[in-house]
Symmetry: C2
Subunit: 235 residues, 2 copies
Amino acid sequence: MLTQTAIRAVPSRRSTVSTHGAPPASGPTDREAGALEQTMRLMGAMMSYSRNSEIFGENEPAEYLYKVVTGSVRTYKILSDGRRQIGGFYLPGDIFGLEFAAEHTFSAEAITDAKVLVVKRGALNAQANGSALLARELFTLTGHELRRVQDRMLLLVKSAQERVASFLLEMADRGSASNAVELPMSRQDIADYLGLTIETVSRTLTCLEGTAAIEVPTSRRIVLRNRSALSRLNS
Amino acid sequence: MLTQTAIRAVPSRRSTVSTHGAPPASGPTDREAGALEQTMRLMGAMMSYSRNSEIFGENEPAEYLYKVVTGSVRTYKILSDGRRQIGGFYLPGDIFGLEFAAEHTFSAEAITDAKVLVVKRGALNAQANGSALLARELFTLTGHELRRVQDRMLLLVKSAQERVASFLLEMADRGSASNAVELPMSRQDIADYLGLTIETVSRTLTCLEGTAAIEVPTSRRIVLRNRSALSRLNS
DNA sequence: CGACCATTTGATATGGATCAAGCGATGTGG
DNA sequence: CCACATCGCTTGATCCATATCAAATGGTCG
């Protein structure tokens, strides 16, 4: 039962800081521009991380809150037996690094080159003391995160087909407007997210393709052809 | 892969209300008596539920927050294929029913006859607007819940032995001071909690007994003989 | 005692892991 | 521009942990 996933060494070019007091044109993230959004833009620093570089490590003090601006991020944990469990994928607009203990429970890495808005937790809390709006937003955010993890929990007791189908539907809902999903992450990432092996993920995709539920023009691009078939698999 | 657990019909005697404006001697729950504790005692109603009766149902509006006073409670969800996934077990002092959507994600039932302190969410929120202390406590509570679910998530990708061992350690840490664990829940409950079958849970316990890691004097009573062996199994 | 229910134990089946090889893209050096 | 190494992905063969099916055991309550 050991080693589903060997620890993969991570060559890590260094990340770049580019602080800025003035808010930049902050890209595709402006949906609602809530209190949190504003605070982060005002008080945050923009950081650039290159593919596979570490953003923070498990057990490091959790001093910051992070928001993906461009690119994508994974959080993960290495289990004692060497397997890696991915906690979540974060796409532009998503917030990660939300912690309640003093230290991070997960590590975080850039999946692709990524720009991330970083704000000091302390500063944020200080603001939140003044702004009930901001406080409420942080609360809501936590609630969403809780819900997300609960859903993951339910996923992990289902069959491989169900897990993969759910994953595709989730990614489609989050990222793309259309039925085409552009996956930033590798098969290994998906496997570690779903608690499967890379072989099983691959086989399952092939199988779904056989059913005409999906198309896989390139390994990183997947087109949903039959959403209802996928949802049916899914709980 | 269908039917790990058939839906078990739940004969349900009715539950009893006994409101009281004045706080009663509220049993073994007084650890810290935080703002939340006080508010619940002041504004809450004490409800009695008999074994297996429903406290709230999935998709019902989430109007209340609940705190176990005596007895024990499970939250669960019936999956589309008929299996039941248990979200959590709640023992005296534990709070459940924490929701962020308007409706409950899980159902809740009394495992044993139980007394539960119930408070209106609206009333609580109103209080929280005045009391930063209370607000913070609710926030922390959510954080703990998040952590708990994350841990469960990690559990669900491990082997049967690891899951059962973790479960026993968790129950020992929460409930009893000593190494003897009194389980309020059935094997089926445990199985649905861990994402295993009742047979696997039973066999695993027998196996752990064989290793002298535990003793099982009666099916509902388990004595931890070798905690470190259990932790070693555990991630 | 007898019916019922929860639990354990046994025999067999199976989904997904593991081991192993093949295959296409991408990149590198000659 | 092409051989060649590398990497990520797919495909195939086999194994194993856990599910499933079935029966025995034991505890509880009328």
